[in-house]
């Protein structure tokens, strides 16, 4: 099972840049890029911050996909 997300789609719908989203949750633009490209798996704390900032359910924002 691989942890994936729809962060990019949701962020773009909310018309936020990677930098704006990163600043609002206290991480760098590079960290947002890494999460969006599935290279970095955020901690629960960051995942919840992102979910709250984007006003999107955490289990919809992040999901497991079978290999």
């Amino acid at each position: 099972m691989v942890l994936k997300n729809i962060l990019r789609e949701v962020r773009q719908k909310k018309k936020l840049t990677q930098e704006e989203l990163g600043d609002s949750v206290g991480v760098s633009r590079q960290t947002i890029i890494s999460i969006e490209t599935y290279r970095y798996k955020p901690t629960l704390e960051l995942a919840m911050k992102l979910s709250m900032k984007l006003n999107f359910k955490i289990d919809k924002l992040f999901y497991f996909e079978k290999d």
Partner: protein, 146 residues
């Protein structure tokens, strides 16, 4: 290729290791068969200290001038730091065991190079530069791939 401020600061560390190896390591290599005397090496140590201060002041000063954005140290940075420092720690451990092995080899095999403290000093400096270079290179690799 687009590099972040953090990645450029790692480049600065890598470049320092390379410059140190080019300018200062030959001195320790040339004196590897000598008895290390702190009084005769004091000039070299002052050179190294002055060079390090000027290099890092200039490099980080220029970095701050050209990239004004404040560095955010987030959970990804902490994770990458932990991984790279762990590698550095393992390498330092290996070097410590090698160092002990060399000291024992002096007693057992009567090794010429390490009979004088110059050889041991060269080995320590070489390991420090190598480990620092490998740690920084691995850190940069992690920043680019994770």
């Amino acid at each position: 290729m687009n590099f972040s401020k953090k990645e450029i600061s790692i480049f600065i560390e890598i470049l320092f290791s390379i410059l140190f190896a080019i300018f200062f390591l030959p001195y320790f290599y040339d004196n590897r068969f000598e008895i290390y005397d702190l009084n005769t090496s004091v000039n070299k140590l002052i050179h190294i200290t002055i060079f390090s201060i000027i290099y890092f002041s200039l490099a980080y000063g220029l970095l701050e001038i050209f990239i004004r954005k404040k560095l955010i140290n987030d959970e990804r940075d902490i994770l990458i730091d932990l991984k790279s420092y762990k590698l550095g720690y393992i390498l330092y451990e290996i070097s410590l065991f090698s160092f002990i092995g060399v000291i024992l080899s002096v007693a057992i095999f009567d090794s010429q190079m390490y009979q004088n403290s110059g050889g041991l000093v060269f080995m320590i400096v070489l390991w420090l530069v190598l480990v620092s270079f490998i740690k920084s290179a691995y850190q940069l690799y992690l920043y680019r791939t994770s």
